[in-house]
């Protein structure tokens, strides 16, 4: 449904988005991750047709956003960053306005306002003026606006920003639910959301895609992925390291050891070997677990500007210049 080819955006000399290409199909929830200033919002604004791209193209369904913006915009619901709403209107007035702009009228309008008000738990504040609402309600009002025409494509810029933990949880379930029938893309810098709501995630940094995969695949990029952590009395690092499937052994505090497998896929074999060794040596096990890999660690390792990276960035800019 969303098709992005070689999308670029330059502000002056600054390349905010630099050659992004990806697609989002119906039934997919794509999480769009990246540090602040990585180009997430700029990309979202180009997808929704608010900013014209410097190069490349975006199409929604069969419509090119640059060539037939109205048709493309009709298919889309958009929750902008900071969830801007007309603050001098009542929630009901605002939703009715958006419904009318989406071509709904009469009974259809009334029903869709009611539907999104229920979906976003706005029933109790419908007649209240928007600038008297708390941040969470404002946010949900703006989300309701994006859903009013039951769009096939949903674009959300930091949808859970400013919500309390309960609201975040509700919203993630809602996103997951909607992802079954729609193409959904949302940006965030909260990594737990990727696990909670996404079927796929893209990490961008300085306008480029640095990782693209399912949450599980991304976690596997972690150096912890597949490592076995053992806490046992009497455990001996040398004996563990001598095991055939074991690679490096890292001592943790409190008598714990983290054993990394020699081959990445060989985690199950390693666990078996460690169990046999523990039984043979008679160590007393307190804990034994296989590490899943941490998204935040993957995120840090690929987006932190280390010296090697900045050197290559310098080379890149020189090549461009």
């Amino acid at each position: 449904m969303i098709n992005i080819e070689n999308l670029c955006k330059t502000f002056g000399h600054n390349k905010a988005v630099d050659g992004l290409s990806f697609t989002v199909e119906r039934g997919e929830v794509l999480g769009f991750l990246g540090p602040n200033g990585a180009g997430k919002s700029t990309t979202m604004r180009m997808i929704t047709g608010f900013l014209p791209p410097s190069a490349g193209r975006v199409s929604i369904g069969n419509y090119d956003v640059a060539k037939s913006p109205l048709q493309a915009k009709r298919l889309m619901g958009y929750l902008p960053e900071n969830a801007a709403c007309y603050s001098d209107m009542s929630v009901h007035g605002f939703l009715s306005f958006v419904a009318e702009m989406r071509g709904l009228s009469g009974d259809a309008k009334r029903r869709s306002v009611q539907r999104v008000a229920e979906l976003c738990f706005l029933g109790s504040v419908l007649q209240q003026q928007i600038d008297t609402l708390s941040k969470g309600y404002k946010h949900r009002t703006c989300l309701a606006q994006a859903l009013i025409h039951d769009p096939e494509v949903l674009v959300m810029d930091e949808p859970t920003d400013g919500l309390d933990p309960n609201q975040k949880h509700e919203l993630r379930s809602l996103i997951r639910e909607m992802g079954r029938t729609k193409a959904v893309i949302f940006s965030t810098h909260i990594l737990e959301e990727v696990d909670a709501a996404c079927s796929r995630a893209i990490i961008i940094d300085r306008g480029r895609i640095v990782a693209n995969g399912t949450p599980a695949e991304l976690k596997n990029m972690s150096e912890f992925a597949g490592a076995v952590t053992l806490v046992a009395q009497g455990a001996d690092a040398h004996k563990l390291a001598a095991l055939a499937p074991a690679g490096r052994v890292e001592p943790l505090g409190g008598g714990g050891m983290r054993v990394y497998p020699r081959d990445r896929g060989a985690s199950a074999v390693l666990v078996k070997a460690i169990m046999q060794l523990v039984a043979h040596e008679g160590w007393k096990i307190e804990a034994l677990r296989t590490e899943e890999g941490h998204l935040d660690e993957v995120f840090r390792s690929i987006t932190l500007p280390d010296t090697a990276k900045s050197a290559s960035a310098v080379r890149d800019t020189q090549a461009v210049a």
Partner: protein, 248 residues
């Protein structure tokens, strides 16, 4: 085409509604009516003139609007930019020109309402004497067009900045220029060293020159064309500014 009309109508309705949900509309209407009355009766010597016309009422409008119209129009785009709702508005299925036109029309309709509420002065002058009501009507048409011209310029400056004060000052300066180009003390100053043709050319750019014709009771196609082209230009400039702002 139908959807364009519906879009313009919906946005204009929302815009007009937003004047009345805040105190802006009421404050403006009261101040406007007080000031027009004050200028017409006290400074304009409405009674002492002893003529059955609204000349003393209309003559102040270019100056009165100079402050009041930018005050109404300054928020039109600045507010959208500042609060981020511009992103919301322009990602709805609308053409930017529909939004520009709708916002302009809504504010213009509001100014027309304010002007219409001065009707007691028409009744007064009709009770006291026997005025030329055709001339009064032409005067109102001219006044409405004048307000529209200032408003279109304010829409343009409002699109330039997210700061309403900047928009206000810019539009006052531009409108002041449009007055002064045809203001007698200024044209007299110009005649001392410039050729009469140049003075006439400069004066032709002035709103006052064209506005005065309406006050004489003349609705001339050239004056209508002047206001129409001023409106058209300012609104077109607004659309260029908004497009550039998005692509910059």
């Amino acid at each position: 085409m139908n959807s364009s009309i519906a879009n313009v109508r919906n946005i204009a309705k929302r815009e007009l509604g937003s004047y009345f949900t805040s105190p802006v509309a009421y404050v403006f209407l009261v101040i406007f009516l007080l000031l027009t009355g004050f200028f017409a009766f006290t400074i304009g010597n409405f009674f002492e003139r002893g003529e059955a016309s609204l000349a003393s009422f209309f003559v102040w409008h270019p100056w009165l609007y100079l402050v009041l119209v930018p005050a109404i129009g300054m928020r039109v785009w600045s507010e959208e930019r500042r609060s981020g709702t511009m992103e919301l508005l322009l990602t709805l299925p609308v053409n930017p020109w529909e939004a520009i036109l709708a916002k302009f029309l809504a504010s213009w309709a509001f100014l027309a309402l304010a002007l219409a509420l001065t009707f007691p002065i028409v009744i007064t002058v009709n009770l006291l004497g026997d005025p030329d009501n055709g001339q009064i009507l032409a005067g109102y048409v001219g006044s409405l067009l004048l307000a529209g011209a200032y408003l279109a310029i304010t829409c343009m400056t409002s699109a330039m900045s997210r700061n309403q004060v900047v928009a206000f000052i810019l539009s006052v300066v531009l409108c002041l220029f449009l007055i002064l180009a045809g203001f007698n003390p200024v044209t007299d100053l110009l005649t001392r060293w410039a050729s009469p043709a140049l003075v006439d050319a400069v004066a032709a750019f002035s709103v006052v020159t064209h506005y005065d014709n309406f006050q004489k009771g003349v609705i001339d196609a050239r004056d209508l064309l002047y206001f129409a082209s001023l409106l058209g230009f300012a609104l077109f400039a607004t659309s260029v500014i908004i497009r550039n702002h998005r692509s910059a």
